[in-house]
Symmetry: C2
Subunit: 228 residues, 2 copies
DNA sequence: AACCATTGCATATTCGAATGTATTGATAAC
DNA sequence: GTTATCAATACATTCGAATATGCAATGGTT
């Protein structure tokens, strides 16, 4: 038995923890990220913190300004618009691809993911919007379902792009929910999406996905307008 | 007149120099990147080198393996396939968007960019494939043209994604050319693309772009097969 | 009062040394 | 002859201190 098969670096660990903290609403959009504070929080030196921040900024979760440090990417209307449009355009195409390539195993995958999601209480179904653990669980199930839908596209590159975009969208969703905004139709939309995929109707499925993303955007816009 | 308007950090400067060195064929795909060597080459400490590499690895130009360092991303058939498919799917859609949104100013932009490209000698037109300066110039004009075509899409996010993909594709093109592979139809394809854009024919333009990208892929495949 | 320069402070950035991890090559055991 | 063990080396990783930069407050000048 090997003692340590493949240990990650501290920087990777910190980057992941930090990503989780941002996505988990423990670090607020627009909040300044100072090295002294972060280094103590994660128990590492500034160099490691810096490397983690560099990575996250390249992924768009934090924003860097030379000689002025880092902050959690602020949520803005313009960014939400661009993000939504990019998702509409890319995800709908990738979904079509996935439906065409998907085999029976894939069908099983999306049915399973949908089942888990449908059994995970969302804020629309009465879970407390301020219960972080509950929201984390739903966000994870939601991300897993969307990823499963696209997973049969067979292109790691496309998956990576979609994942990056989805992650940022999850950030908007998270903060929107914590303010009480809820997409009551989400569950129905998820189900419709599943049906179209299983029926092998690429165009209809893509349209359903577009509806879902657009609708989510609408809800988030209310949040930003309200939160300023 | 301000004395120092906005100085970048060393890490940013090194990252850009390194990107240029990779894209400029001065660092070979698969080549190991060692800190001692790089730090001396760019005249900075290992910390800065590390930050630059972290960024580049997130963009896919270099590959990181924990505790084993970094290397220039190796060129593989599988990667080329995924990359090409992603470009086909995304760029054609973004192009349609760009054509729909583009105004007269945009038309001027793409005409200008095409003019520059057409006047920059490519290896297909007799420039020496081993003349790095000449190849850099053509690659830059080529990238500028493709970027101009899509620039009217009005979505910084999409532009950023396309840029990342294009940059990596340029890496394949660069090495393919240096081995004597030449896309003789490129100039004609670029012209056809321009015509369709000016005529406001989104579908035809997108198809022309798909042709162009596919054709380029074909040429690069020969390179990889040959170079192993 | 409004504007510009200066100083002091908080913080980001950079460095070089200290530490930890993989790999290589040699030697011993099977 | 093959596999296992163990140094020795080369290197990536991490640290904490040293430096440079931006910002806010202060004081002086028009």
């Amino acid at each position: 038995m090997k003692s340590s098969p493949a240990k990650d670096t501290m920087a990777i660990a910190v980057r992941d923890k930090m990503r989780a903290d941002i996505l988990g609403a423990r670090l607020k959009p627009g909040q300044r990220l100072m090295f002294a504070e972060l280094s103590e929080r994660y128990g590492v030196s500034v160099g490691v913190t810096r490397e983690a921040l560099t990575w996250l900024s390249s992924q768009g979760l934090v924003k860097a300004t030379a000689h002025q440090g880092y902050m959690v990417t602020p949520l803005t209307m313009a960014e939400l618009d661009a993000l939504t449009e990019a998702r509409l355009l890319i995800e709908s195409e990738v979904l079509k691809l996935s439906i065409r390539n998907g085999d029976t195993e894939w069908e099983g995958l999306i049915i399973a993911a949908h089942h888990v999601l449908s059994r995970t209480p969302s804020s629309a179904e009465g879970s407390d919007p301020n219960d972080d653990a509950a929201q984390d669980a739903w966000a994870e199930a939601h991300a897993a379902y969307h990823e499963a839908l696209l997973s049969a596209c067979g292109n790691p590159r496309l998956m990576q792009i979609v994942r990056t975009l989805s992650e940022e969208a999850a950030l908007y969703r998270r903060w929107s929910i914590s303010l009480g905004h809820i997409n009551h139709q989400a569950a129905a939309e998820h189900r419709a999406l599943l049906e179209h995929c299983l029926a092998r109707e690429p165009e209809e499925a893509a349209e359903a996905l577009r509806q879902h993303v657009s609708h989510t955007r609408q809800m988030l816009m209310e949040y930003i307008t309200e939160a300023q």
